[in-house]
Symmetry: C2
Subunit: 122 residues, 2 copies
C-alpha cells in the first residue's frame, strides 16, 4: 500500500467523528470543498458537499459533491470517467470548509482543461 493510501485509510477510520465536526449548518447544509491535486498541488476546482457527499467520498474513495444546479448528489466523473481518487480529506480551522486532496484521472474541468482555474481554450 502506498503511503498516501495508508494515510487515507487512517483518516477513514475516524470518518464519522470527522464528519460530525464539520459545520454544515453555516452554509444551510453545504460546505465548499477545495479540490487539490496531490501530486502537482494545483487547485483543480471548488464544489459543494453535504454530509452525505462527504460520507460517500470517505466510503468509496472517490470524490462526491452536491450539485447546486441539479440539486442532487454528484459523483465526479460518473459520465466523463474523470474521477478523483481521494487521498486525504481535511477541514479548516473553523470547520466550515473542506479540502479534498486527490489523484485526478483525466482532467478536472468540463471544458477539457486540467483545472477550472486555467484559462479557457480559445
Amino acid at each position: 500500500m502506498k503511503m498516501e493510501e495508508k494515510k487515507f485509510e487512517e483518516t477513514k477510520k475516524d470518518s464519522t467523528s470527522f464528519i460530525n465536526r464539520v459545520d454544515f449548518a453555516k452554509g444551510s447544509g453545504l460546505v465548499p470543498v477545495v479540490v487539490q491535486d496531490q501530486k502537482t498541488k494545483d487547485v483543480l476546482m471548488v464544489a459543494y458537499a453535504n454530509k452525505e457527499a462527504v460520507a460517500l467520498s470517505f466510503e468509496t474513495g472517490v470524490a462526491h459533491y452536491w450539485s447546486r444546479s441539479r440539486a442532487s448528489l454528484w459523483k465526479k466523473g460518473e459520465t466523463s470517467g474523470h474521477v478523483q481518487k481521494i487521498r486525504e480529506i481535511k477541514m479548516d480551522c473553523d470547520a466550515d470548509t473542506i479540502l479534498y486532496l486527490v489523484d485526478q484521472v483525466g482532467v478536472a474541468c468540463h471544458r477539457g482543461t486540467w483545472s477550472c482555474f486555467d484559462e479557457s481554450p480559445t
Copy 2:
C-alpha cells in the same frame, strides 16, 4: 521587476473587466476565495470577498476579504502583520469562485499555523 510581479501588473490592467465578469449575484454579493501560497502551492485558507474587496486587492496588491462574522471589509493581516501579497488573481470556469495566488507574510491562520488546513497545535 520579478516575473510574478510583472504578471500581476498585467492582470491589474484588466481588473475592471475581470471584476465585471465575476458572478457575485449567485452568492448574494459574495464569492468564495481560495488562497494559495504561490511558492509552496499550499492551500492556506478560504475566505469570502465582495466586489469591493476584490477591487481593493487589485488596487493595493494585498489580499482583502469580506468578513461574514463581522460584516465588514477585512484587510488580511491588518492587526497581525500577516499580509498576503497578491501575485495573481484568477476566476474559475463559471466565474463564481476566485483564487488568490499570494506571497504569505508570516502565517495564514489565526491559530499560528501556516495554513488553516493544518492540524491545530496541541
